[in-house]
C-alpha cells in the first residue's frame, strides 16, 4: 500500500519512517514548503510537492498521513476522504469539536478508514499501567494524576505559539492524557481548568485541570510548556488497595557527552529504548484494520471526545467556572 505524507517536518518525517517499517511505501511527500517535502521524500525515493491537495487525488495513493498543524487537519481529512483514501491523522483530531464532526462525516460518507494518532494508547509504560489496573493491583481506582511536558515546542514557523492554532498545552499535549483517561476510566462528567497561555514576555503555557469522571473518579492532569528545558511524563493511579507510579525521568539509560576536553557534561540525554516504537505500533494497528481485520484501538469518535475534553478544559480556563461535558 502506498502512502502520501502531508506535512513533512517533525511528525511527518517520523511517520514516513514508521509507515515504511510496517511495509507501506511512501510515494509522495507534500508540504507548503517544498524544501521540507524534498528533505523527507529524498530518504524514501518518493515524489516531493507543495501541491498538498493535488497529491490526495493521485491514483497510486492508498493512504494519506496528515501531519500538518492542528487547524489544517480537517480540510485534509475531508479532501482525502472525498478522494477515497484511507487516513492517518495526527492528534489533535481537529481544532474544534465541529471540525472533528465534519471529518467523521466525510470519512463515513466515503467509507474510508480514519485513524487518529493517539499514541499514548500504544506507549508501553501506559499499556503496562492499564494492565496493572486491570489486574486489580490498586483495587478500585479513585484518583489519577497525569503530568506531561517540558519546553515550549518550536514547530515550523512557530504555529504552536499561536494559541488560536495550537490550543496551547491543554489541547496539544494534555489531549494525550485526556484520551488515555477516557480509554481506561470512561467518560468525564465535568472539568475545572486553569491555564496560563502567556505570550509576553515569553511564550509560556502551564495548565492544571481536574476532571470528575462519570464513575466518580477524580483525575488531575497537568501540562507544561513552561520549563526551560527537558520533557517529562509522570503518572499516578491510586486505588483502595494500592498505588502505581511512573516517572519518565527514571530511565535505564543516561548518556552524558563532554563537548570540550576537561569540561563537564554539557547535556544529559535520558533514554528509554524499546524494541518497537509506539509510533510504529500505531501504524501496525492501523494496518491490521486496513487489512480488514480488527478495528484499530482508537476510533475517530474517541478522538472527537478527546477534543471535546480539551475544549471544555479551555472553556473552563477562560470562564473560571467548571464546565459540564
Amino acid at each position: 500500500m502506498n502512502v502520501a505524507i502531508i506535512g513533512c517536518n517533525g511528525m511527518g518525517r517520523m511517520h514516513a519512517q514508521m509507515a515504511v517499517n510496517c511495509g507501506f511505501n511512501v510515494v509522495a511527500c507534500a508540504d507548503l514548503e517544498l524544501s521540507t517535502a524534498r528533505s523527507v521524500a529524498s530518504g524514501f525515493d518518493a515524489d516531493a510537492t507543495d501541491d498538498c491537495f493535488g497529491v490526495l487525488t493521485r491514483p497510486d495513493v492508498d493512504v494519506v498521513g496528515i501531519m500538518t498543524p492542528t487547524p489544517t487537519h480537517t480540510e485534509y481529512v475531508v479532501a482525502a476522504a472525498k478522494a477515497g483514501k484511507h487516513i492517518f491523522c495526527e492528534k489533535p483530531f481537529g481544532r474544534t469539536v465541529q471540525q472533528c464532526k465534519e471529518a467523521i462525516a466525510a470519512a463515513k460518507k466515503a467509507r474510508v478508514k480514519l485513524f487518529v494518532g493517539h499514541v499514548v494508547r500504544y506507549f508501553q509504560e501506559f499499556e503496562a499501567m492499564r494492565a496493572q489496573v486491570a489486574q486489580g493491583k490498586v483495587g478500585k481506582v479513585g484518583f489519577v494524576r497525569l503530568y506531561r511536558g517540558g519546553i515550549f515546542p518550536a514547530g515550523q514557523s512557530g504555529w504552536f505559539r499561536d494559541l488560536e492554532q495550537s490550543g496551547g498545552v491543554t489541547l496539544d499535549s494534555m489531549i494525550h492524557d485526556f484520551d488515555w483517561l477516557r480509554y481506561v476510566f470512561g467518560d468525564a462528567d465535568r472539568v475545572f481548568c486553569q491555564a496560563l497561555q502567556r505570550t509576553v514576555p515569553n511564550h509560556v503555557d502551564y495548565s492544571m485541570a481536574t476532571f470528575r469522571m462519570k464513575n466518580g473518579i477524580i483525575a488531575k492532569v497537568i501540562g507544561t510548556w513552561a520549563h526551560p528545558s527537558g520533557f517529562r511524563v509522570e503518572a499516578e493511579i491510586c486505588g483502595d488497595q494500592g498505588i502505581i507510579q511512573f516517572n519518565s525521568d527514571d530511565t535505564p539509560l543516561k548518556a552524558m557527552k563532554r563537548t570540550a576536553p576537561g569540561a563537564g557534561a554539557s547535556m544529559i540525554v535520558p533514554s528509554s529504548p524499546v524494541h518497537t516504537s509506539p509510533y510504529q505500533l500505531e501504524w501496525e494497528d492501523f494496518k491490521v484494520w486496513l487489512d480488514g481485520k480488527l478495528r484499530a484501538r482508537v476510533t475517530p469518535e474517541d478522538a472527537l471526545e478527546a477534543v471535546r475534553m480539551a475544549t471544555a478544559a479551555l472553556k473552563s480556563a477562560e470562564t473560571g467556572k467548571p464546565v459540564k461535558l
Binding site: L196, P201, Y206, T224, G239
Partner: protein
C-alpha cells in the same frame, strides 16, 4: 529555660513535639494533660515527665507555654483555657475547623495578651526555606502558577470521625500548602474550587482526597491535591511538593525527598528513611523562644485562620459545585 506543657496526645504530632522539647536544652517538658487519662499517663511516662489529670491544676503548674495537640474540634476550648491562664500557645493545625472557632481562638489570645502560634512546621523545612529565598531573591521574576500536593496515609481513629476532625483529607492536608504559599509569596487567596470525596477507601465515611484550584492576589494560579491516598504499603507517610512556574523558570520542590531506600524482610515493604532536617525542631524552638522572650511567635494565629478560611471555602465549593470566594 521555658517550661512547656502538652495538652492532649490525641494528635500523633504530639509525639514529635515532645521529642523536640526533650532534645532542646532551653526547654523543659514539665507536664502532660489529656482528657484521655490513660493516653496522657502513657505519654508522660514515655517522655519522662509528669501527668496532671486536672486541667486547672495543669494550667496552674508554672508553665510558660502549652502545645495543644487535641482532636481538631477541641482546639478552641483548650486554647481558650490556656490563654485565660496566661499561657503562650502553640496549636496544632488546622487551627480550627470553622472560621468562627479560629477567630475566637485569636480573640481569646489577644484578650489574654499571650502569644499564639499555629503548627506549620513546613516553614522550618530547609528545602522549603530555600524555595522562599529563591522567590524573594526576584531571580525568577513574576510568579505565574503553582501546582502542589500534600498526600498522606489515612491516620484513621478520630481523624475519620467528622464530629472530632471537622472533615477528611481536605481538612487535614490543605492548610500546610495554603500556608506555605502565603508565606512564600506574601499574597492572600481570593477564590477556591474543589472536587473531593471518598475516593481511595471503601468505607471511611468522609473525603480522603480533594483536588483544589485556587487563585491568589495578582492572579497567581494554584492547584493542590490534598489526600490520604498513600496506601499501607507505601514506603513513607506522604509528601509535600510544589512546582512553581515563574517568568524566568520553574522551581520544583519535594520537601521530604531526602531519604534512603530501605528494604527490610521483617517489614516486607520498602521504606523511605528521611535523613533531612526535622522541621518540627525549628517550629518548637521558635515557640520556646517566643515563650521565653514573651513575644509573638513568627508563625501566628492569623496564619492559622487564613489557612482555615481556604479549607472552609474548599468544602463549600465541593458541596455547591461552584467557585467560592475566600
Amino acid at each position: 529555660m521555658a517550661k512547656i506543657g502538652i495538652m492532649s496526645f490525641a494528635h500523633m504530632h504530639a509525639n514529635g513535639y515532645a521529642a523536640c522539647l526533650n532534645e532542646l536544652p532551653e526547654a523543659e517538658l514539665v507536664a502532660v494533660w489529656d482528657d484521655n487519662a490513660k493516653r496522657g499517663r502513657e505519654a508522660a511516662k514515655q517522655y519522662g515527665t509528669s501527668f496532671v489529670g486536672d486541667m486547672d491544676r495543669f494550667l496552674e503548674s508554672g508553665l510558660d507555654g502549652v502545645i495543644v495537640t487535641s482532636e481538631n474540634v477541641k482546639h478552641r476550648a483548650m486554647v481558650e483555657a490556656a490563654a485565660a491562664a496566661g499561657k503562650w500557645v502553640l496549636c496544632e493545625k488546622p487551627l480550627a475547623t470553622t472560621v468562627a472557632d479560629a477567630k475566637a481562638i485569636i480573640a481569646a489570645c489577644k484578650k489574654a495578651e499571650v502569644g499564639l502560634s499555629t503548627a506549620f512546621p513546613c516553614r522550618f523545612s530547609p528545602p522549603l526555606i530555600e524555595v522562599r529565598d529563591l522567590i524573594e531573591s526576584g531571580e525568577y521574576g513574576v510568579l505565574y502558577a503553582a501546582n502542589c500536593t500534600n498526600n498522606g496515609q489515612c491516620p484513621g481513629g478520630w481523624f475519620a470521625q467528622e464530629e472530632l476532625s471537622g472533615g477528611g483529607a481536605t481538612m487535614d492536608h490543605t492548610v500546610h500548602v495554603a500556608d506555605l504559599l502565603r508565606w512564600m509569596t506574601g499574597r492572600e487567596f481570593t477564590w477556591v474550587y474543589c472536587e473531593n470525596g471518598m475516593l481511595v477507601h471503601d468505607n471511611l465515611g468522609m473525603d480522603d482526597l480533594g483536588s483544589l484550584h485556587m487563585e491568589m492576589e495578582g492572579g497567581l494560579k494554584v492547584s493542590h491535591t490534598a489526600s490520604w491516598s498513600r496506601c499501607k504499603s507505601f514506603p513513607a507517610w506522604g509528601d509535600v511538593t510544589l512546582e512553581i512556574v515563574a517568568e524566568k523558570g520553574v522551581i520544583a520542590v519535594d520537601a521530604f525527598n531526602q531519604k534512603l531506600d530501605v528494604y527490610n524482610d521483617n517489614a516486607m515493604k520498602a521504606e523511605w528513611a528521611h535523613w533531612g532536617s526535622n522541621p518540627d525542631l525549628g517550629l518548637v524552638k521558635e515557640f520556646v523562644a517566643s515563650c521565653d522572650e514573651r513575644r509573638a511567635p513568627s508563625v501566628t494565629g492569623l496564619d492559622g485562620l487564613r489557612a482555615v478560611e481556604v479549607t472552609v471555602a474548599a468544602y463549600k465549593s465541593a458541596k455547591s459545585g461552584r467557585v467560592v470566594k475566600v
